[in-house]
Symmetry: C2
Subunit: 400 residues, 2 copies
């Protein structure tokens, strides 16, 4: 029903993009522009950090003021425009004004986003030049340039798209994203931008984004840090003519999930110093919230992440995290699997199976499963990467 | 009033100790015995992990059954006796029985403690031989051997003692400890054992231990992990004849604090891969609980810890943690100091002061200060160490 297609963020009809260099970063593309024609409905989810960057403030204002109607999204990398006080807000507003002028729409129909160094001022002249240059290169074939322009230390750009074929016709969902957490010294942000040519009500759009973000973007972690600039935006233009009613809503969620799942996992794969993608499935929990809390605690544990890096099936570390995660946990009935191999269950240790578990950990994608033993049936899967000496090197030595 | 003295855990009159090798670890001392003559009052605080190791279960039982009257504490390293099921409990009980026989007291007057590999069985025959050997070498001069016998990957043993001179006479407090958090692959535990020859009521003893543990042991972190075996025991023998009444209670707390503070900081200094002791002071909080929560979040942040390792004054990382710590925080009034140098305050960035801040970070002991800007007056100081590539190496490659 959902098929992967080429085209990234501009795969859905009605969207063009550009990625240009305007000198905010020392080298490389650093400004992306996404334009919706006609205007799209937009939904957004934002950082929960109390230190909110200026572009997050402005984008929220503009969504409210425009009734969530959006013509353009402009994003820069290399400078987060965070902790920059009132002058940072002025720059974020100027960024929207310049884009509105170039695109021909009211400023509140422009959403802005930034990623990069915290506390450094963002130069409005560079942004203005970048917007001008971007409007001149806008096209449906520029999706990869746009995905590259939002990168900071990401090892590769991240974009994907799908086509969903339904009884009422086909629609597309596309997206691009950049690095998870605060994965760079003084750099910030997980950003993701999503488009669709389906037509959907504002309420449905919000509901779908929240529903899909929970098991995708909200289920990943590189370092447990919540940045000042996190932002996920979803724009629905309607150009496919496919109207998402109650009957088609599950198709829409399926397509959106496919895109968000792929982008979220790509972010983790490209985490700083990462060599393995790690899924952590917690079962036997009293509630999904408790399962999520335990899975996230394991996914952020430096001892779990270093053990995976060392390809060492240290199941005791998972038990120890389960016991301190603040959720119901019954050690006498708990079970721990590394890949398909049960190493601990019902107070029994299967030490002879460790070689088989170690073999599983030699793969690029590994799976850890913990049953909390409460008798509950709720579960949650979190994704993380391993924790390498390279991570420390990147984060300790960046500015020296 | 409080003077540092030699003698470690046996500095207080009425205590003897021993540290012997009984073959649980591949090499080195691995069993410590502490004997109180006459019996001492005991108070304990224990891991909050729901996966509780067998020795923690047995020690709690024995404190309850004996009315907190204790003749001996026996501790092994090299095996945590955790996740070992009913047979692990049998071994922990046998450990107390053997010691009771050797010392000549009821089993419930013996407290037991273990540290080391999780999930591995503890050999009761080795423990029996170790206890026999330990009783033959017991002495007031064996405190360093005892401190060495409880080490796992600690780079050095940790012991200290003080004498408190009061109008009612002098008493002593001594102690020994081992590594913080789960600082070793499959190894567990922060352990601390404290003695005093002051005489104090059971209620006073508990109250003092809890009061002092909060700003000392409970204020440190190496990796944010709560082990299955954590235990702090305080034994008060009374041999000094100094009775701790309401008037002397502050003197007792002062002396106990001096010992616990030194041991707690020694644990952090010896954290895996650590090269720096880092104090993180959070001020301007609405409550001490909020200040503690924010300080601990910063102390556990891999981005803060790697920045300190790189001697890079990345104050933006501290702001970002403050914003996600789940406490009241006012970014427009917040201030961040690296050592004595204010780098950010009231939305102003002092970029020109970064070299001065970087110079402070080159020291072995560094200080980070964050004012949350809420207008509140509560504060808390947490201690941690830097996060080095060596940490990852130790934890990833230990068993390979």
């Amino acid at each position: 029903m959902v098929e992967r297609i080429e085209g990234g963020i501009t795969a859905p009809a009605g969207f063009t993009a550009a990625g240009v260099a305007c000198g905010i970063k020392a080298s490389g593309l650093d400004l992306a522009l996404l334009v919706a024609t006609p205007a799209a409905r937009a939904a957004g989810i934002f950082t929960t950090n109390l230190a909110v960057a200026a572009p997050v403030v402005v984008t929220r204002e503009h969504l409210a003021r425009s009734g969530a109607t959006t013509r353009a999204v402009v994003v820069n990398s290399g400078c987060a425009n965070a902790c920059t006080g009132p002058s940072g807000l002025d720059v974020a507003r100027a960024m929207a004004d310049d884009t509105a002028l170039a695109v021909g729409c009211p400023p509140e129909q422009v959403l802005v986003s930034s990623t990069g160094v915290i506390g450094a001022p963002l130069d409005p002249a560079k942004i203005k030049a970048g917007v001008l240059s971007a409007t001149q290169t806008l096209g449906r074939d520029q999706h990869t340039a746009a995905a590259e322009a939002i990168m900071t230390t990401d090892p590769w750009s991240k974009e994907t798209a799908v086509r969903a074929d339904t009884p009422a016709g086909s629609f597309r969902v596309g997206g691009m994203a950049k690095g998870a957490g605060m994965i760079e010294p003084n750099m910030a942000t997980m950003l993701a931008f999503l488009t669709t040519d389906a037509e959907i009500s504002p309420g449905g759009l919000h509901r779908a984004l929240r529903e899909v973000a929970d098991p995708t973007f909200n289920a990943i972690t590189v370092d447990g840090e919540t940045s000042t600039n996190d932002m996920v935006l979803l724009l629905a233009g309607g150009s496919s003519g496919v109207q998402i009613d109650e009957g088609l809503y599950p198709h829409f969620v399926e397509a959106l999930h496919a895109v968000c799942h792929e982008l979220a996992l790509a972010i983790v794969r490209g985490g700083e110093g990462a060599s393995k993608l790690v899924s952590i499935h917690v079962a036997g929990a009293g509630s999904v919230d408790e399962a999520r809390q335990a899975a996230k605690a394991m996914a952020n544990s430096p001892l779990v992440k270093t053990a995976v890096h060392g390809e060492d099936p240290n199941w005791g570390r998972l038990v120890a995290v389960a016991g301190r995660a603040g959720v119901a946990f019954e050690p006498t009935r708990a079970r721990v699997f590394v890949g398909p191999v049960e190493l601990f269950g019902h107070e029994t240790v299967y030490a002879d199976r460790e070689p088989e578990a170690a073999a599983h950990l030699k793969q690029d994608e590994v799976s850890l499963i913990v049953d909390l033993g409460t008798g509950g049936t709720a579960s949650f899967t979190a994704w993380t990467c391993d924790f390498s000496a390279e991570y420390v090197r990147i984060n300790a030595d960046y500015r020296t």
